[in-house]
Amino acid sequence: MSKDNIRVLIAKPGLDGHDRGAKVVARALRDAGMEVIYTGIRQTPEMIVQAALQEDVDVVGLSCLSGAHLELFADVMKGLKGKKMTDVVVVAGGILPEDDIAALKKIGIKATFGPGTKTSDIVKVISKLATD
């Protein structure tokens, strides 16, 4: 059973301006019936945590293509923990080398989506994670 009105924050931490993927995913999630907030580029981890809190989202999707994902995603996770938002599901996409995926899972990121992932698969995974 899928939950109604899954609220998702799509966020671009760091200085990376590659927002094609983030925007496509945001739109695909919205087309799939989710409520989507997109932060825009150049967000600090603090800004992302704040937005997740204010918007009361179920899911945060982080996108990074600049190679700064290990540092920045970890900062976001720490920030969410600090606000006791551990029930928020965090997923990530971008240029994420295979070797890093275990490290990202370890800090609590539930799913990662690399290049070539279908948006329909992202919708499925997020729906499932948000309702589990």
Partner: protein, 550 residues
Amino acid sequence: MGKRKQKWQKEVLEPALKRFPERQPSFELTSGMGIEPLYTQEDLEGINPEIAVGYPGEYPFGRGIQPTMYRGRLWTMRQYSGYASAEESNRRYRYLLAQGQTGLSVAFDLPTQIGYDSDNPLSRGEVGKVGVPIDTLHDMEVLFKDIPLDKVSTSMTINSTAPILLAMYIVLAQKQEIALNKLDGTIQNDILKEYVARGTYIYPPAPSMRLTTDIFEYCGKNLPRWNTISISGYHIREAGSTAVQEVAFTLANGIAYVRAALERGLNVDDFAGRLSFFFDAQNNLLEEVAKFRAARILWAEIMKKTFKAKDARSCMLRFHTQTAGVSLTAQQPYNNIVRVAVQALAAVLGGTQSLHTNSYDEAYATPSEEAVTTALRTQQVIGYESGAADSVDPLGGAYMVEALTQEIKTAAQKYIDKIDKMGGAIKAIEKGYPQREIQESSYRYQKEVEAEKRIIVGVNKFVAPYESIKNILRVDPAAEKEQIAALKKVKQQRNAKEVAAALENLIKVARSKENTMPAFIRCVEAYTTVGEICDALRGVFGIQKESLVF
């Protein structure tokens, strides 16, 4: 339709189609236009290619900007590169030059591009990641160590901080005792596409355009061989636009730069010859070839008719090409070598002046030395083995290529006219018009891929288990700490009074109408950091907020 073609259609084609229908209901360019089953002389009706396309080296340069093209000299093979530190990047540059690369292309990291020092909290994680970190002149000295600036041409992908990096290059040349009129190279300096697609803007459009124009004016007087801008369609295309939109939005931005320079009081023929362009090469070979040809013709017409340029050089669209980063797949990654070869061939058949070929591992990371060598070799195979470089515009006159050239030109012209009616590129960008168009195209493309209307080998067809690339380049996390330590040392050694005076002078000049370049040069000479300079200007110009189009 002519009788001969009619006869063929009726007697040969139609019976064949009854027995063997076409493999898909329709065939389309990425720009959405339909592709005919067969192109003939009839598709060129009303077009005299001798006039509409011209001869190489002659207006409107459809067949190429030089009379001899690659029979004289091959394009410049220029791999965009930079990572970790100035020292490491210098090593990579010297390696590439030793492998037969003919020009340098500097990739800067994001903090350098957005005007933050390596020790700024906003730079965390980003230092040395997508390019080389440059905080002060000291880093540039290391970056170009043992590379004589009068022997190489250097392209720098730098936009909102372009005047600072150009100033550093100038000071470096002076230290190497090289006359400024010997310097050969390009700075991207194209802020408008940053608002549209790439995202490294700092200040609002008006002061940014002023800095761009300052560079035009300064280089016109002091660096006559320098390309003062590289008006870029690459990032627009990579963000998802079609080939037609790439041409249209790029040339519309080009028009805005020309207007800004004219408003400054510059004479068109004094700066237009130093404008250069940068395009993407994607997979549809003939559409891409036609795109390059169409762009050249359109620009020549714009410069001659709208801006009354007299000098032939002002009408020449000279361009760099990069193969399509977005087309690289993580799945079956060695297929990327083939994609890059097709795309590079399109650029060569389209008459590019310089070329970057992507590496097969770029869906994983910035390229390893092994991967970048294969990419460079791809260019060398095309240049020296394929024969594609042995005659000028070898596809000229091909019915399909000539027909597509005209179609793309007409479709792009429509967009340009629409943007003109909106008040020009800056107004259109402020309204989010090109941004929205690009997003629509990119979303449509993604849907088509998912519906398997567009095939990506190894991704949505011919899917098979593959080995991912293990030997990827990793930037040592220590690089960030080392860069911060080096910056601290430079700050301790420089003359703080000189830095303060240079910054004060920059602020004064920025508030006036004077050209800012000499003030930037004074700042970098004093080892003022990129972040300090940008902070000073943020105070004068303000900062640009993202206009969210979603």
